[in-house]
Symmetry: D3
Subunit: 248 residues, 6 copies
């Protein structure tokens, strides 16, 4: 079986992670999964939301949004509609929850990191690209805070790494990292978030057209496991390289 | 291992399904999973949303909401806050998607069924109770429409049945149908929606405290499979019984 | 003259007051006037709104809302529309004002009681059913607070009792407790809130179709006076009985 | 008993009705009850709201609002708060309903008249001043439409006249047309809307501090009846005079 | 060249400034430029917005709004639409900025003056009339605060005076103070805010139909300079006169 | 005088215009003025807003927004606040108006072009960069529509070119293209939009700290005239080059 863009079922698109794409943000990444392009900015601020005050723990959260013309046809801005849509809320919550899974909020102190994931161009897999890129921006923001003395030198807020990939059933076959044409016709669509040591943090699978059985589920999870391991490797490579220098 | 309320890990709470709890709605169910109590109303209306007009297919959707004092401490009303929260959106979308999985929208004709799931009392598992109850209300609404000649006598909009249950890891052990005290301390929380013939429609698993491995995932899915089969049986029983008569 | 459901002009519908319908709320009542069914939850919380802080007085308020399918045809949710309608505001304000009429806010201390009145099924008279039921829930919430030591043992926040009934002119004749078919065709519609000792707290009369004269007004007020006395008796009966036990 | 401003209990404040205060509106009135000053604009537009289309009947409605500094201390604008408050909704609905009581919507044809009542200065009684002034603006707007041929020459949309006054119990005594200092300390506050021939259209009485008995109610209604008759006379006088000429 | 209403290109409309049109506000002005009629209320309140607290400086701001029937055809209220339009925001910001240009916020102390500019009738030039009138109301509010001891006797918060006028190109010719028929057909529209000593505070020029060259720009600025000087003289006259007495 | 970044008063920052930065949009540009970075997407859609229907003319409009971390410290998203701020509205309107100045809407036919200007990084001058970049994206979108036959081959919707630059008074001296540190301390800030043939379309000058005289105004306009000519040259260069190929 060949996919419409020539990939094998196990093959992710070309993934590019450009660190410090922005000059102001404490951490920032332009992450690309093929033509999907997400700008992630990690903002470190002292203080926590009111409901956490005085507990000595920090907070990590995320806001995801799509630019109106990131898609094939223009969508209305949520700011103009005066309300944030259900899908936007849902993905923002997923990203925040995923990153908190590898954060020791005690070690972060009473500080907040917001991960803004703005989709500049969408071609399927924007939420998994966001999570994968946000991890790298988060690492940079924590290092920046450590360098500025905003968290203790010996604090280890990160307890692991995190990456995410989509898998799905397209024309009866399990494939990884669906682009938009595949995603919009998939029978089942599943997003899997995994730690760098291969355990699950989130599994969100939806049968869009016909239910799926346990056997197919296992094949999807196998593919996701391999894919997340590959993305983890790319994240480590990006973090090992010297990033573009910020202009402060 | 005994759970805080005496149940075994495999044991769901007492489930009660009261049909036709309302007099006006085409289908309605008061569904109870222990102290969790959800009022589901299925409203059948002719016509479809604008983006579906003229395509000859129908639509099934859902709106979920919690009464302000369904919970232990009162929450503000979303209507007063002027916006619907992310969690509410997310669950509404999940319920609608789950029920559409067993609907042949062509057979429904250009008609819409809205499933309003209002949580009168919350004690964990409100979204799975909603889905399980909504299936029964949906069956009644379709029968009502057939009786009134709003859909063809021989149309079969239902392609199967659907039920949902939560599973999770509490103190290291996999358990089914978590109540609020369990849910709020669970290491992992997973909602599973399955068809009556045992296939998956939705899997949403979240590690709240520590990632989980493939082996634990399998144990959770095993429990969910058994639980959904049991709920399917209870739905069939409820549908086989003569319901409370509506006063039209 | 016989009414469409066989009642005499002076006859209210069957009224049922079920205490402690909910397990969490400090006071709760399922109140039914025929097929009109309102769930009232009284929530006691320490503290008062900002504009009352430090004055040593408490606050009682109410929020009224109809479930989307409480009515014959489904209405859109106010939370989805992003704003609360005028009618909802108006009734919420009426209920709160009515109950404050029998509350000594000094004796309540700096505590707030919110009365959530959610209409599960509407068949006319939802606001008067709400007020009548809310009084009972309020009594229970105050007793609960007293038992928990949240208000002083000897404090008497209640200065009387309150009940409400609708009266109206239907086909030229004064009748009490209009159901929906009557309400929607009435020439005049009036809601009357009275204390247990027979004085007025609110009178809201509206000529829907043709003005009414002083003589007809007197006949309406006579009927309301008798009806409120009857409702007061039913409230006392409900409060005298042992309520369904809450599961805390 | 003398009131704080020297009036007798039966005495309304000085009432001034200035017709055609605006140049653009089909009807407009600056109505003053003492220092209370409301600008009423009646806008006649062809067409009706969607839910009335094709029924051959017209519509009369109202929107009431207070300028932020109409009051002693500045209030926030509802437009900036992003939502219309309950009191504003309630009064707008009352004004619209009151005026519809004397309109034959069939005779109006499929046309709409909106009565905008903007309170320029508030000193108690803004809703009753609005209704009293709106009647005059409404008459002018209907005449304007007749002159322009927008309604038939022989159509009689007006079936009567309408005026409104407040009455209340201040320091135990019934008084008419309360100003702000009286209104804010009244034990009972009642707004009464009456037709020119002395029948009731709306009665809204609220016990703010202590319930009131039937005898007191009768005294309040007596005063309102006399007051509305006096206001009716002033309306007729204003309508008999030649108004300020509009500059079209 | 004669203009449609007989004015010469250099001639403003008749300008009237009525001080203390309101009884409650610390300063108030009904300002009229021909048929354009704006009610300006200056509200002095102790305290400043949160972001200014503790800095020892005051704040001056403005809110502009049009009544729904100030215009030829009725517009929807922004409060009912639930959001403030771009034009309203823009003009409010312009007015506030213009007045702050002549305020020494240090001398004002931690106090706020809000200038509410409500357009009762619109016939072009509402923003320039608002600024011109607001200066007078601001002077009165500052004097009122000085008299009440809310600012120091010797404090001089005013550093100059401010007036504004519109200029534009109509049928190829530069004219001043455009009314609505001119404004809606002008090729270029420019609002100019100047200090009493003839310097610029704001220039906002927009080519509505065809760009304009430097020479035409100079002609427009010449006219605005003369016009603002004339308005400054009228402001001084108004302030020199004894105003209508407020009824406190 | 040397500026803080070494530029002369007449020197703009390095300007880069990258065409077709996006794959989906009919025209798109990443425009950079130094560190200010704006992504402009031009979306061509058939049809026009309702108020233009049937008139045979097209429409060009713009929406401007800043990403939350485009600035030095993170700002809240307008979508989450539920309303669009005054500054955002104001700039969106300026951009749309500026581009319409060089569009013959008749020649466009009943089609709409939306110019989305999203600020990825802000360092002063975001509105002038947006306008300058939007012109290039607009040219590409029109060419794309012509190529697809959506507008007539011989239609000339563009009547000229447009560019914009900021000028201001910093420490008493007129300078061009202010970056954020200059902008935030400028005594006067002015944005000038000019056609390619050197005429004015918009002038928006604001005295932030002290009014400015006619002589200084002339110096600012001189600088803006030279700057816009230079930007026009860069736009022509960008349009002459072969752009990055879109992947459709």
């Amino acid at each position: 079986m060949t996919r419409h863009d020539g990939r094998t079922p196990d093959q992710t698109r070309e993934v590019r992670i450009t660190r410090n794409w922005l000059d102001h943000a404490e951490g920032s990444v332009l992450v690309e999964f093929g033509r999907t392009r997400v700008l992630v900015a990690a903002s470190f601020t002292e203080g926590v939301p009111r409901w956490l005050k005085g507990k000595g723990t920090g907070w990590v959260t995320s806001e995801y949004e799509m630019l109106p013309r990131s898609t094939n046809t223009r969508s209305d801005r949520e700011s103009r509609k005066g309300k944030v849509g259900g899908r936007t809320h849902e993905i923002s919550r997923l990203i925040g929850r995923s990153l908190r899974a590898i954060i020791d909020t005690k070690a972060l102190g009473e500080n907040t990191i917001v991960l803004d994931c703005d989709v500049l161009q969408a071609d399927g897999g924007t939420r998994t690209a966001s999570i994968t890129g946000a991890y790298v921006a988060l690492v940079d923001a924590i290092e920046d805070a450590r360098a500025k003395g905003l968290i203790r030198k010996d604090a280890q807020p990160l307890t692991g790494s995190i990456a995410a990939v989509s898998v799905g059933i397209v024309k009866g076959e399990a494939v990884i990292d669906l682009d938009y044409p595949e995603d919009s016709t998939a029978e089942t669509d599943m997003n899997v978030v995994m730690t760098g040591d291969g355990r699950f943090v989130e599994i969100q699978g939806t049968a869009e057209d016909g239910a799926f059985d346990r056997d197919m589920l296992n094949r999807l999870l196998d593919k996701a496991t391999v894919g997340c391991a590959e993305l983890t490797r790319l994240q480590q490579e990006a973090l090992a390289a010297t990033p573009r220098k910020r202009v402060l």
